[in-house]
Symmetry: C2
Subunit: 392 residues, 2 copies
Amino acid sequence: MNLPLGYLYSSTYAGIRQVEKDDLSVIVSGLPAKAAAVFTQNRVQAAPVRLSRRHLAATRGEVGAILINAGNANCATRTGDKVALACCKAAGAALRMPASYVLPASTGVIGVELDSKKIVDALPRLLGGLGPERFDDVANAIMTTDLVPKTAFAEVKLRRGTVRAAGMTKGSGMIHPRMATTLGFVMTDAAIPLPRLRLMLKRGVEKSYNRLSVDGDTSTNDTLILMANGASGVRPDEKEMLRVEAAITGVMESLARAIAKDGEGATKLITISVTGFSSDDAAGRIARSIANSPLVKTAVAGSDPNWGRILCAAGYAGVAFDPAKTDIFMQGVPVCRGGLAAPFSEQELKAKLDAPECEIRLSLRGKGKGSARFWTCDLTEGYIRINASYRT
Amino acid sequence: MNLPLGYLYSSTYAGIRQVEKDDLSVIVSGLPAKAAAVFTQNRVQAAPVRLSRRHLAATRGEVGAILINAGNANCATRTGDKVALACCKAAGAALRMPASYVLPASTGVIGVELDSKKIVDALPRLLGGLGPERFDDVANAIMTTDLVPKTAFAEVKLRRGTVRAAGMTKGSGMIHPRMATTLGFVMTDAAIPLPRLRLMLKRGVEKSYNRLSVDGDTSTNDTLILMANGASGVRPDEKEMLRVEAAITGVMESLARAIAKDGEGATKLITISVTGFSSDDAAGRIARSIANSPLVKTAVAGSDPNWGRILCAAGYAGVAFDPAKTDIFMQGVPVCRGGLAAPFSEQELKAKLDAPECEIRLSLRGKGKGSARFWTCDLTEGYIRINASYRT
């Protein structure tokens, strides 16, 4: 798959992580790009989140570079705001753009001072390594407890030429929707006006990042930035815009699925589909409740077709529905019909649930058109091992 | 501690569990008792929950016996309602009371038919064994994945004599507040009018069972029944009523703490105290959010003073507050002051967190008087082991 035109990437090791693995990276757009972004809804917001908001407001949605560090969230520290600003200033000076054209993003431990000197000192090395082909290096450098880098690509042929989109994301714990979750960066070389770009991001997030849960913890640093630099020279017409939006949404969905699949300790991706409710919102709340249930997630880990836990989790979602009209399917096999046990071969279904991807479908009988899809992962002993010893 | 007068207990093995361990039990009040009860708020409600509601309405809050089975939730089954009614009828006939004076309660797996014949056949053996001293046998027989039985006692000396209260409860998974959680039975021999008894239960639950979380799953069978049979011959006067209420609330708090302590796989009881918010409700939401965070719970499991996760969980509770005015203490040691890292000896605090009881305190600076206490437990690999294989 071809990368979008006009973006440069680089990563290096700045000494922020304890292990020597790239921890500082940058995405640069040759032309100033339009940028739309969503940030965490947590009341506790990291310094880079606050500064990114300010910068986007100051530039009216234009961006030249994103400077990302892993290994330290730059959150709840004395010097956080100063550190974030100093790094943007230094990067801006080196890239010959105003500091406000640089958006900072951080991920890692909360409450530990981040030393701006490490980042500033590493900038020459970082920027010296910029290249259009180093996309994967950045996808690797932004990882924390992730096991695999997460990227997604799309290409759309339009009347006047081809436009491309590429995205990368990180995160496998402290993952919960209700907003952009984790760090995510999506680049396109289509020319898209800012209001349209914002709409695309808003609608796309609703179908991707906001339909994702690993452990129900909403991080203090969540940031998702969508950039459009127009380097393809192609500005989609109104009809084509919808195709571009579909492609970009597809990239975001792939990234969200990849996060769930790489959830801390996860062995299985779980896709939850809910249909037949009065609204998409009601269906979404049911799906989220199932996705967040540790009992459902451990049952899937054990390949246990324990549908009672699914029905139970739906029951406490705060949505009115008639259990007697509820059907539940696991891996396509009906396990509950009208709220009651359906006959199925326990052994066969258990074997099917050993697959790396599991599907849970809950459907309400009747005329409701509200539906939702949600991604999560199983909950295993690995999650505990990772999180009982992450920091110290 | 003396048990309340006028109650008889018994338990037996009826063949509902696969392992031969008592699974059927009964609590009988010699005199008809006033009873107040709270039930699960899950939309999916087990047959015994529905029938108990009906019976309490029919008798206007009087009860003669509680018939409890473990090993099967009698929920989401074809014959659930019939089974629950048949068991109450048979028990009522044997005890010479209307069926409506018998409240059924069930706990165990969802979606598997419960055979009423097993229970009806076991009734002669069960009722033949009734005795005032068999309280602990019932506390044992209602357990599922519990490791230890959970009981609590109180005695209050009043002007005209002494009244006693005793409670038992079960549950270590599918535990979440917002309502009576799990099965709980509290008996007193004080004479308490029904409206007062209901008020006591309502206020007591708010301070005990509704301040408890193991895994955030609200069960379909949650039932908490408070009975007052007046067998002490003592009717507290208005002033004494408050002392009796305090004693009964104390019993419920002990039971709730015991559930958290015996949370599935738990090695530590965590008490979360939140102070300084605008209302008890706001403080409660903050406390609940911290209690439900898998990242906080795994950090405590690993004795990791990772206060950033605590601040983060407070941040997504949906309550407005200023992180810069937030202090956090773990085991009494300040770890965060004004939203920033406080200096503390990591090694010393780590050793303190190895204790079987851990305290997390979050306090907001200012004039707010709203506070809340909440109990939960750490999240360990044991929880996963238990729940990945509970049913099959």
